[in-house]
Symmetry: C2
Subunit: 399 residues, 2 copies
C-alpha cells in the first residue's frame, strides 16, 4: 500500500471535526444540542436568491466562463462601490466560495517556503490552504487581554524574514469579531509598502459591523493597490453558504493573469450558484437591515450573557458573528468533548469550538473557545444557561 | 510590486485559451464559427435534473457535508454497481467537479517532487493540478500510428525512478477516445503492484464506449484495491458541466482520511449541484440510450469525414467524444490560429484545439489536433467541409 503524502499527514484536523462523532453519539442518546460552534447562519436566504433557482430557464447546465459570469462580476463591482471600493468587473474573478479565492491567491502569489504573517487567533483553514501551496504561516499573536487588537509594528517586524511575502488579515475577524481600526490598517499599509508584501484581506463579514466604527477595506489603502488581493464570498451576507460563490479581487493584472491559469484548470465556478448570487445582490435593504438588527441583538445578548457567568470573559466583538471567550477551564478541547460526552442538563447540552484550532502558536488559548451567534435568542438563552450549569460542575474547572 | 509565484509563472496557458481572443475577433467580424474545440456537450440536461432546481424546497441554502450529501453518495454507489464497481457510500467523497477530485488526489497522495507517469497525449489540466501539488508529470508517449495504444511494460519501466509514486490514466481517454483493453489494464495493474504505486483513473467518460469492447475500470483490477483512486464527474454523462459535481472514490481509508482534510478546508461541494446530480442519476434509460446513439452516429460521421479529406488521418476512437487527428500541416497551433484570423469560407470557419496542449513532450504532435463531436451532424458536416476547404489553401500545408 503506497504511503499518502507528508503534506496530507501533516495537515491538522480541525478540533471541531474531532467533536463531530461525539455530537453524533449525544444525538443518538436523544440529547438536544445547542450549536454555538458553527458558521452557518440560520437566517433565511433572500427570496430573490431562492426565486432565481425556479427561474433557471436553460436546457443545458453548461460551463460558465472560468472567471465567472460577466453580469455577476458587474453587479459585484456595483456592490463594492457602495463600500467605496473602486473596482471594475475586470478586477473580479469569481471563485468556488471564498475558500478557493484564498487557495488561488496563495498558489498564484507564493512559492513553497514563502512566509505569510497572520495575526492569530485566525480562521483555521488558512493553514490548510497555505500547506496546500507549500507556504508557511507565521502567527502574530494577539491577546484576549487587549481585545485582540493588532500588536505594534515592531512585533510584526520581528517576524519579517527574507522569505516573508505576505500579510493575511480577516476583517471583520473570524474568530474574534475584531474590526481593524483606521490606525491599524494604516500600520499594515506601511508594512506592506516598506517590505513590498502582498496583503491578502478576507472581508466576507463586511456587512456585519456593529459599533459605528468604520469598516476599512484593504482596497481603501492608498499606495498599495498592486499589493492587495481581496477575498470575498456571498455565503455569510446572504445566508447561502451552500452555493459556493466567492470572489478574488485585485488591481494587480499579473496576479489576475496567474490566478486565471488556476481558474482555467478547474474549468468554471458553479453555474447555478452564480445565478443565485447575482439575484441576491438585489436583495432589498429591508432584508439586510432585518438581518443586521437580529445580529446586533444576538451579539449583545450573547456577550452580556457570557460576561455574567462567573469566571468567564469575552471582549466585545465589533463585527462578524463570533466571539472568542475565556472560560474558567483547564483545557478547552477537553471541556468541549466533556460537554458532549459526559454532561447534560435536562437532556440538553451545547457544542462549542475550542480555540486551539485558531492558534498555530503551541499551548496558547487553551482556556478559550469560539462562540457563534447564528442561532436565535431563545436558543442562545438556553445555551447560556446550560453553559453556566456545565461550568459549575466541570471537573477541570480552574477558578 | 511583489512578484507572483514561480509556480504561477511556469504554469502553461492552454493553447485553446490563446485562441479565444482570435475567436472573439472573428465573431466581431460576423464570421460564424463551428466549434470542434470544446468538451461541453450540446445535448439537453436530463429533465429530472432541471426539475430538481424547481423542486428545491429549502429556505436556507446552507453548507452540505464536506464529503457530500449521503443520499447522493448512496445513489452513486448504486450507479457504480451497474458497472460492477463494488463500492459503498463510505468509499465516495463528492468533489467540486472531477477537477477537484484530481487536485485532492494529488495533494493527499503526492509530495513535492514526486513523479506521476501519464500516457500522453493527455488531458492538459492534469499538468496544472500536478504543478499545484508540486508533483511532476512524466509523460509516456503514445503514438497516433498505433492508434494511441499503451506502450509496452518496458517503456513504462524506463520512466520509473525512486520518485515515481503514481500512474494516471484517463479511460475512455480525453483527448484520444482510446479505451484501454483488458490486456493493457492488466499490464498497468502489474506495474502498480510491482512498484507499489497509486493508480489514479479518470473514468468520467465510461458511458461513452462505442465498440462493444468492455469498459475495464481500475476498480475491476484485483489485488490493487488499496492503490486505486477513481476520479468521476456527472458533467459529461448528464450534460451538466456547470453544476460542478464530481467524486473521488477509493477503498484506501487512509487516503480518504487525508483527502477529507482538504475537503473540510474548502467546507463543502456545491449544494444545488448535488441535488441536480442526485436527481439526474434516475434519468430514464431512454435518455441515456438516445444520447449514446447520437454520439455513435456523430462519431462515425466525423471519423469517416476526416479520413476522407486528402492527407488527413484519425484512428477510430472507441470512447469519449473526442478524436485526435493528423492533418497535412506544418504546425497545428499556427493552423488553428490561421483558421480564426485569416480564413473564412462564405463567412464561416472552424475552431479546433491544437494537440500541443495535450503533450508535455516537446515538439511532438505538432501536426495533430483534437476534434470534439459535441455538435449536431448538420453542423459537423459544415465543419468538415470548411476544414477541407481550409486545408486546400492553408499556406503551411505539407503534402
Amino acid at each position: 500500500m503506497p504511503k499518502p503524502s507528508q503534506r496530507g499527514a501533516n495537515m491538522p484536523e480541525s478540533p471541531i471535526r474531532k467533536l463531530v462523532p461525539l455530537a453524533n453519539k449525544a444525538c443518538e442518546k436523544g440529547i438536544k444540542i445547542y450549536h454555538l460552534n458553527i458558521g452557518q447562519p440560520d437566517l433565511k436566504t433572500p427570496q430573490a436568491g431562492l426565486d432565481a433557482l425556479r427561474a433557471v430557464d436553460r436546457s443545458v447546465l453548461e460551463y460558465s466562463p472560468s472567471e465567472g459570469i460577466l453580469s455577476l462580476r458587474q453587479k459585484l463591482a456595483e456592490y463594492y462601490h457602495r463600500f467605496d471600493i473602486d473596482v471594475t468587473a475586470e478586477d473580479i474573478i469569481i471563485t468556488t466560495g471564498g475558500s478557493e479565492a484564498v487557495l488561488f491567491a496563495f498558489m498564484a502569489c507564493l512559492d513553497p517556503g514563502d512566509e505569510i504573517i497572520v495575526p492569530e487567533p485566525a480562521y483555521a483553514n488558512y493553514t490548510a490552504f497555505a500547506m496546500s501551496a507549500g507556504a508557511i504561516i507565521k502567527p502574530l499573536l494577539c491577546s484576549i487581554e487587549t481585545g485582540f487588537a493588532l500588536p505594534s509594528v515592531s512585533e510584526f517586524e520581528k517576524l519579517i524574514t527574507p522569505k516573508t511575502k505576505a500579510i493575511m488579515i480577516c476583517n471583520p475577524n473570524n474568530p474574534t469579531g475584531y474590526l481593524y481600526t483606521s490606525q491599524e490598517m494604516n500600520q499594515i499599509r506601511d508594512l506592506v509598502k516598506k517590505y513590498d508584501l502582498y496583503l491578502f484581506s478576507d472581508e466576507v463579514y463586511r456587512e456585519f459591523c456593529y459599533t459605528g466604527a468604520p469598516y476599512i477595506s484593504a482596497c481603501h489603502l492608498k499606495g498599495i493597490e498592486q499589493n492587495v488581493v481581496l477575498v470575498d464570498s456571498v455565503s455569510k451576507r446572504y445566508s447561502e453558504c451552500g452555493i459556493r460563490v466567492g470572489a478574488l479581487i485585485t488591481k494587480n493584472k499579473l496576479v489576475r493573469q496567474h490566478v486565471m491559469k488556476f481558474c482555467q484548470a478547474r474549468l468554471s465556478p458553479p453555474l447555478i450558484g452564480q445565478l443565485v448570487a447575482e439575484a441576491s445582490i438585489d436583495t432589498p435593504k429591508d432584508y439586510m437591515l432585518e438581518m443586521y438588527n437580529e445580529y446586533v441583538e444576538r451579539r449583545k445578548f450573547l456577550i452580556d450573557g457570557i460576561n455574567k457567568i462567573p469566571g468567564c470573559y469575552t471582549p466585545i466583538p465589533m463585527g462578524a458573528f463570533y466571539t472568542v471567550a475565556r472560560l474558567p477551564i483547564d483545557d478547552a478541547d477537553r471541556f468541549c468533548a466533556w460537554l458532549l460526552e459526559e454532561f447534560e442538563y435536562e437532556g440538553q447540552t451545547v457544542m462549542i469550538a475550542p480555540a486551539s484550532g485558531f492558534y498555530t502558536t503551541p499551548d496558547v488559548g487553551k482556556n478559550e473557545v469560539r462562540l457563534a451567534y447564528v442561532i436565535n435568542k431563545e436558543d442562545l438563552a438556553m445555551a447560556l444557561m446550560i453553559l453556566e450549569k456545565a461550568l459549575a460542575v466541570y471537573p477541570g474547572r480552574t477558578i
